[in-house]
């Protein structure tokens, strides 16, 4: 791809993404206005019982006494400056809270994603190679079961099995409390805490990727160029790797890229179950405390991450597959 075309493509995608983010900010604003009761009490995270003087101050600060368009303008310009307001429950800026928790969430979702996509492609390939055999049926049943199981319940059952009954892995948190570990031992400790949450979050997506890979491989295996390769006498293993799998993976990767953002939504449940100190757990705490400003901050942050993921996927896809028209 030519650098100029690439630059235009990237710029176009970022401009579109900026519009989407702006729309999300407006949606946040609308949600605060639509909430029953005084918008100031939504921002304060308290209903009714707040100090009237404090509420008056908030109203002035957010311009709630001015006409609606002006309020929207004030709100949007605040967020553009990355000012997501203050969590009045925790007495800290929402941006700081999010920044502090983000690495843990990225570690969890990243690990779950890698697990899901690698195992999904592996199992899907296996099933497609042995259509109709016991292995295929077992993988299909596993995928069906993963589809039907609530994420948080899988987490609890894994805790029950591996922590309570077998006592192999820790059930809660990200690090061992009071262990005073250093160096390599810290990484091992975090890794041990990561296994169950990442497994829980990854299982559902593993099922999706396995089914997608299977369907996509079966479709490609039927095409003429595969028959040609076979007629030429290319070894079966090479046909599978170089001809079928390579072409079959494109739709899987596209879909995985879109889904990667949705993983963050699932992480709210998983982080709640495993007390993992990420933004999902932050969202749960905000729910318990009725801290709506913090909750909207989490919503905004996750939406922006999804948009960013989508840009990266589009870009990767355009780079991997030369047939994709960048201009369009």
């Amino acid at each position: 791809m030519e650098p100029a075309a690439l630059a235009r493509f990237v710029f176009g995608r970022i401009a579109k993404a900026a519009l989407v983010v702006l729309a999300i900010v407006v949606l946040n604003f609308v949600l605060i206005r639509l909430a029953p009761g005084d918008p100031a009490s939504v921002i304060a995270g308290q209903s009714g019982a707040a100090d009237p003087q404090f509420m008056e101050q908030l109203r002035r600060q957010f311009g709630l006494d001015r006409p609606l368009p002006e309020q929207l303008w004030i709100y949007v310009s605040r967020i553009v400056m990355l000012d997501l307001g203050v969590s009045h429950r925790q007495q800290r800026a929402v941006v700081d809270l999010l920044a502090e928790r983000l690495p843990a969430t990225l570690l969890l979702t990243g690990a779950a994603f890698v697990f899901a996509i690698s195992m999904g492609i592996l199992l899907g390939t296996l099933a497609a190679r042995r259509v109709g055999t016991l292995a295929d049926t077992l993988i299909t049943i596993l995928a069906l079961a993963c589809y039907a199981t609530p994420l948080f319940w899988v987490g609890l059952m894994l805790v029950l099995l591996f922590s309570v009954l077998l006592d192999w892995l820790p059930a809660f948190g990200m690090t061992s409390v009071g262990a005073n570990l250093t160096g390599f031992a810290v990484i091992v400790d975090i890794g041990r805490h990561l296994v169950l949450p990442a497994l829980t979050l990854g299982l559902f997506y593993l099922a999706i990727y396995a089914r997608l890979t299977r369907a996509s491989m079966l479709e490609v295996a039927d095409q003429d160029f595969v028959k040609t390769a076979r007629a030429k006498g290319v070894p079966e293993g090479r046909i599978l790797r170089a001809h079928v799998l390579r072409n079959a993976l494109l739709p899987v990767i596209t879909f995985a890229g879109i889904q990667a953002g949705q993983l963050i939504g699932g992480s709210i449940l998983v982080e709640t179950v495993f007390a993992w100190p990420g933004i999902g757990r932050l969202a749960f705490d905000a729910l318990l405390a009725r801290d709506y400003n913090l909750l909207l901050g989490v919503f905004f942050c996750t939406s922006v991450m999804v948009v960013a993921f989508n840009i990266v996927t589009d870009l990767l896809y355009a780079l991997i597959d030369p047939r994709i028209e960048v201009a369009s």
Binding site: P36, L144, M157, V164, L287, F299
Partner: protein, 278 residues
């Protein structure tokens, strides 16, 4: 119709799913008869294990009957799943039909709108909606409907785009039928089968979504639900595994049944596709 029933019956998984679904439905309907005591009422000693003290599935931390909770929870799961799906389909069909039939700028605008709603992480959005509008049956149903309509719009738009130029539609236009009549009387009946299949799968995901919301404490505080029961059992899992295991099994079986029925419907409505897949 009989042809359809025969094709459906040939699919073992789908029939199994249908039987399972009918069993859950019967449980929901018979709950007041089988367990006449309010599921919120204390029925025995706290933390009674399954099969002891006369409780099939044990009791929870406040001595409430877990089996009664599951039976009464079936009602709310099915209700929320069904109503929110009907609402989502109503939104999705309207937007998709208008976009596919009108085309041009209207189509463009509607699809941008749909894309936007597909970009927002749906689970976080549902949480925010329910939290801000205070948890209740109606806010939960509304939130689930609001986050689940976009796929319907896409499917319906696609069907309308391809059906719009067909001869029977052209004939209806020439005959001078009104636009709403063409949309609802001519095109929509021909686009029904993908909507039905999608609908059955959406009920399943709506039930999962409802259980996740009530697990996080966003359920209607007056109604016993499966997600709430698992949430309540979470902190005492070392002490009373049955509190969180059985409601989860109930969700699993219900959602599995719906998925199996959905796949069976899809195969029976598109026999050509099913044979190719086989």
């Amino acid at each position: 119709m009989r042809d359809f029933a025969r094709r459906f019956a040939r699919n073992v998984g789908a029939v199994f799913g249908l039987v399972l679904l009918l069993a859950v439905l019967a449980l929901a309907l018979l709950a007041p008869v089988l367990f006449p005591v309010d599921p919120w009422q204390m029925a025995g000693v706290p933390f009674a294990p399954p099969l002891e003290d006369g409780f099939l599935l044990g009791t929870d931390s406040l001595g409430r009957d877990v089996a009664a909770g599951i039976a009464h929870g079936a009602h709310i799961s099915l209700l929320v799943g069904l109503v929110s799906t009907v609402a989502a389909i109503a939104i999705g069909v309207t937007l998709g039909a208008v976009a596919g039939y009108a085309g041009g700028r209207i189509d463009d605008a509607i699809m941008r709108f749909t894309e936007f709603f597909q970009t927002i992480p749906s689970f976080v959005f549902a949480i925010v909606l329910v939290a801000i509008f205070t948890p209740s049956i109606s806010s939960i149903i509304a939130a689930i409907a609001i986050v689940s309509w976009p796929p319907v719009t896409r499917v319906v738009r696609g069907e309308f785009l391809s059906l719009r130029s067909r001869e029977f539609v052209q004939a209806a236009i020439v005959l001078g039928q009104s636009t709403p009549r063409i949309i609802f009387g001519q095109i929509l009946p021909n686009a029904l089968s993908p909507i039905i299949v999608l609908g059955s799968l959406m009920v399943a995901s709506a039930i999962l979504l409802e259980s996740a919301l009530s697990f996080l404490g966003l359920g209607d505080p007056n109604v016993m639900s499966w997600g709430f029961m698992i949430g309540a059992g979470r902190s005492v899992i070392r002490l009373a595994w049955w509190m969180s295991v059985f409601p989860g099994v109930a969700i699993f079986l219900t959602v599995l049944a719906l998925n199996l029925v959905g796949e069976g419907l899809s195969d029976a409505l598109n026999p050509r596709l099913a044979r190719r897949r086989g």
